[in-house]
């Protein structure tokens, strides 16, 4: 059984104003204790699995996993190799906040086995970073990218955000230009969204957070694709662009319904031995998570056994996120024509309307559909 691994690190230097993620501001002493818990959870999972696992991708996400010292990251990679058969050419990604990096740390991560770095640059404008409540500065971001290269990272992704308060289309063009000038292998570009329970939501509700309008945001989205594809990046997923061969292998496994095992508080998992699959998430509360591990229990919460119906709808709404397209014949083979009938009729209707495009056996979102993908996906539920 092949399965990606995701390791969640829920601590940050400080919480960004827009973030509704499972993360808390960091109090240093919890760190090594938390890594111990992760190691033990991997142990527990290993014991619980009925079959050995081969791991093509390992992803450290957060929170800010770059708050972990290289040796801790190294121990987790070793554990992954020992318990889950981390493959020799596995993609090992670390999400990193530029404010946490030094040349030494970067070299340390590289030496520990991290071979892909995802840098949370977000913006090249100081005022916007401050507005977002980010814990890093523009010079730190530029330095971090340069140091990563020097440390030997030849696969670096940068995260950039648009549709920010006070950001114009020209500002965003400039940001993309600066991003391209760094020549990363991969760019994740996404729009700010106001999420429940965040400080941004409160500001927004009070009318104190003015975001670009729909038209402006749409144009930022379109400009992203235009500039990045013009610079040689392939638009392979709604918010993701990569040089050929440098797409995020780990994230692609989400869209193609491959198994992945999540570790750490609030981490999500999907185990798909039968084509339908089972999803669950770990206890999100740190105390709850710690208590389970200490009691030698897997911290699984809210498990869902997917029905045929669920699996079919996921196959479409996840598969169509991948802009190279979704191959229908494997779905027909896996689920049977009958189970797909309603969706195939939907596909035909959308093809006729020009919102989907057929590419041989594959169907994909038409260029103009990418930006309204949700409306299309919701038809496949």
């Amino acid at each position: 059984m092949r399965a990606g691994l995701y390791i969640h690190f829920p601590f940050c230097l400080k919480k960004c104003l827009y973030c509704d993620f499972n993360s808390t501001a960091w109090s240093g002493d919890e760190l090594s204790g938390y890594v111990e818990l992760l190691l033990r959870e991997m142990e527990l999972r290993h014991e619980a699995l009925a079959e050995p696992v081969q791991t093509p991708t390992l992803y450290f996400g957060g929170g800010t996993p770059s708050l972990m010292a290289p040796e801790l990251v190294g121990r987790l990679i070793e554990q992954a190799a020992l318990r889950f058969g981390l493959e020799g050419d596995a993609e090992v990604t670390l999400e990193a906040n530029p404010g946490t990096l030094t040349p030494e740390r970067l070299s340390g991560y590289r030496a520990a086995g991290v071979n892909r770095l995802s840098l949370g640059i977000q913006s090249f404008e100081e005022r916007l970073l401050q507005r977002l409540g980010r814990a890093h500065t523009v010079p730190q971001a530029l330095a971090a990218f340069d140091q990563a290269r020097r440390a030997g990272f030849d696969n670096v992704s940068i995260d950039l955000m648009h549709s920010l308060p006070g950001q114009s289309l020209d500002d965003w063009r400039a940001a993309l230009g600066q991003g391209i000038a760094l020549a990363p292998e991969h760019v994740s570009a996404y729009a700010l969204s106001v999420e429940e329970g965040t400080p941004f939501e409160r500001l927004y509700d009070r009318g104190e957070l003015i975001l670009p309008g729909e038209e402006e945001a749409a144009r930022m989205f379109e400009t992203t694709a235009e500039l990045l594809t013009g610079a040689g990046y392939l638009h392979y997923e709604i918010s993701n662009f990569g040089r050929p061969g440098r797409f995020s292998r780990h994230n692609q496994s989400y869209w193609s319904r491959l198994s992945y095992l999540g570790f750490g508080s609030g981490a999500h998992s999907f185990w798909n031995p039968d084509g339908l699959g089972r999803r669950w998430n770990n206890a999100a509360d740190l105390d709850d998570y710690r208590a389970a591990i200490t009691a030698h229990l897997l911290p699984e919460r809210e498990p869902v056994e997917l029905s045929l119906e669920d699996a079919v709808s996921e196959s479409f709404f996840l598969g169509l996120r991948v802009l190279t397209g979704l191959e229908l014949s494997p779905l027909k083979a896996a689920f049977g024509e009958e189970a797909l009938a309603g969706r195939l009729a939907q596909v035909d209707e959308l093809l006729r309307a020009g919102l989907l495009v057929a590419d041989g056996e594959r169907i994909r979102l038409a260029d103009r559909s990418v930006i309204i993908a949700n409306s299309i996906f919701s038809r496949f539920l």
Partner: protein
């Protein structure tokens, strides 16, 4: 009981001014509700009853009261509905009384809803006295409100009762005033039975229950009664009063109010305003004022989810059991599928039925714009009645069309007269009369085409007069008019459910306003949507709903697919309330957009 000791009265009040609480206090004070039952029970129960099936029904309750003069009185409270569409029903209930309490909130003052019923009461020669309620509240301004009542309604308020139903203040004073101010009923128990049927409803165990006011004579169990409008006769199975529960009495005598159960199967046979007499000893003439109530406003009701058609049919049948004034017939629309053409007394009646269908029967409905009944005279000399634009024959087959006109009486404070006149003129009205009832209170009488009134007349009237106008109307006649069919096309296809019959001179303006309103109401979708208005084949207006620009999720963190699914499901849920016409999803409101168009 001698007539001298009976008082029949009703309570007239704006919603929230305390009618229910006052009724509760009267019931408690007179012992009709025991202390044990005392928690605002009586009218809560009534409200629930209303929600369950007799929204537009009257209620009665008999109270026994020993007054300060040492005598025992029977006080019959007749609780009337209050609604312009039910003016006729209210007027019949009021005819059953000799007097009424006008309850006004001592801080809020006179509000529009009260006025129509006060005027009906005064028209019915009722003795009305004023009760100022909520007098205990810090915001109470009894002097200001009294002056307002004198000025707006013209009622003497110098001996108005100051009450707080909540605190139990003034209850006894109200009862004393009822005895003193309201005259006892008149009538002769020795004459042949003559009784006013002022409401009826259907009870699944006992059949139709009718409420009556005995004008002359006596009725008792075993009597053979006859309803004078349809000559149908029945044997009385039970006669009684509500005190407040149903209680049989040996007989109901002239001047009294009570119920009769006589094996009547349908409410349609027990019509409000009818006269009840004895089969073998009939009275000389029926009571005046009886009217056959017919639906005047029609609209199409369609389930959004086509699988709810059967449930809708069953629900309509159930409502019809209790409401003979409403009608329904199957209708098919190309755009909306199978539904029903329903007839109502007026717009509010329509809203009530619609709301009950949605709330009590869990149906999600599309309602088409209300229309009236037109008479279409064909070139072949035949005349047909039509209730929807889609029933209009081809132009070459029509000789001419007639539309119903009403006589509308609008009571309004004088400062709003100008606005009312402008509105009535705009609505193709013909002025009949402007009459000053008092120096500040004016009655404006207009002949108006009903089809203009059913669109947005009420809303306009309300906003022009800040809610201080009251409207009463009756059907006048049919008049020949230049009417055309206005079609709405979505992406080039005529949506039949949106077609309208309107006056030729209004077509251009209405068409333009309608498409612009529809543009606001139809959410952006994956495609550009063209909305056009056309008379015949001539397109007179066009608007475009641009394609949706952006609808996309941010990146997926850590493989949280479950959350993604939930977000998409939420989005899909929102679309369920829309009707897919062609490839366009139209929200419910779009079908009623015409109501939001001014002019």
């Amino acid at each position: 009981m001698v007539l001298e000791h009976i008082r029949n009265f009703s309570i007239i009040a704006h919603i929230d001014h305390g009618k229910s609480t006052i009724a509760d206090r009267l019931l408690e004070f007179t012992g009709a509700l025991s202390a044990r039952e005392k928690q605002d029970q009586f009218l809560d129960k009534m409200d629930l009853e209303r929600e369950r099936g007799i929204t537009i029904k009257a209620q009665t309750v008999r109270l026994n009261y020993r007054a300060d003069d040492g005598k025992d009185y029977i006080l019959n409270l007749i609780d009337t509905p209050g609604h312009v569409d039910f003016t006729y029903e209210v007027s019949r209930s009021l005819t059953a009384c000799e007097g009424g309490l006008l309850v006004v909130d001592a801080s809020q003052g006179v509000e529009a809803q009260t006025l129509a019923n006060v005027y009906l009461a005064l028209d019915a020669n009722l003795e009305v006295f004023v009760v100022l309620n909520k007098i205990d509240l810090p915001a109470a301004e009894p002097d200001r409100v009294k002056a307002e009542i004198e000025e707006i309604i013209g009622l003497d308020t110098h001996d108005a009762v100051l009450a707080s139903a909540k605190e139990g203040i003034g209850t006894k004073e109200i009862l004393e005033e009822i005895v003193k101010k309201i005259p006892p009923p008149q009538g002769d128990p020795n004459k042949p039975l003559k009784a006013l049927l002022f409401d009826s409803w259907y009870d699944q165990y006992q059949g139709v229950i009718i409420l009556v006011r005995i004008v002359d004579g006596i009725v008792k169990k075993g009597d053979k009664i006859q309803l004078m409008s349809n000559r149908k006769s029945y044997e009385v199975l039970k006669a009684g009063v509500f005190s407040p529960d149903m209680r049989e009495v040996p007989a109901l005598t002239a001047g009294e109010v009570g119920f009769i159960i006589a094996g009547i199967r349908e409410v349609a046979d027990a019509k409000v305003g009818d006269t009840v007499t004895l089969l073998h000893n009939p009275c000389d003439a029926a009571l005046p004022g009886y009217k056959e109530v017919k639906p005047m406003v029609f609209s199409g009701l369609y389930p959004i989810d086509t699988s709810q058609y059967e449930s809708l049919r069953d629900a309509l049948a159930k409502l019809k059991l209790n409401d003979s004034s409403f009608s329904y017939d199957p209708e098919t629309s190309l755009a909306l599928g199978f539904g029903f053409r329903c007839g109502f007394l007026g717009l509010l009646h329509m809203e009530i039925i619609q709301e009950r269908l949605e709330r009590e029967f869990n149906l999600e409905l599309i309602t088409t714009a209300p229309t009236v009944v037109y008479r279409v005279h064909g070139t072949d000399g035949n005349m047909i009645h039509i209730q929807s634009a889609n029933q209009l024959p081809q132009t070459q087959e029509i000789a001419y069309v007639e539309e119903p006109f009403i006589l509308a009486s609008i009571h309004v404070p004088n400062e709003f007269v100008g606005g009312i006149l402008a509105l009535c003129e705009e609505k193709r009205g013909v002025q009949r009369e402007i009459k000053y009832l008092t120096p500040t209170r004016v009655m404006v009488v207009y002949e108006l085409p009903l089809n203009e009134v059913v669109l947005d007349f009420y809303d306009r009237l309300k906003s022009i007069t800040k809610g201080y106008a009251s409207l009463d109307y009756e059907l006048l006649d049919y008049r020949q008019s230049e009417l055309v069919r206005l079609n709405i096309m979505i992406n080039g296809e005529v949506v039949d459910a949106l077609s309208l019959i309107i006056h030729k001179d209004k077509a251009y303006y209405r068409g333009r306003e309608l498409v612009s309103k529809m543009k606001e109401l139809i959410p952006r979708q994956m495609f550009e949507i063209a909305i056009q208005a056309a008379v015949g084949t001539k397109v007179i207006a066009r608007e475009t709903v641009k394609a949706m620009r952006k609808d996309v999720l941010a990146k997926c963190y850590g493989g949280d697919i479950t959350r993604k699914r939930k977000l998409l499901e939420k989005q899909k849920e929102g679309k369920k309330r829309m009707k897919n016409v062609g490839n366009v999803e139209l929200p419910q409101e779009a079908f009623l957009a015409i109501l939001k168009v001014e002019g």
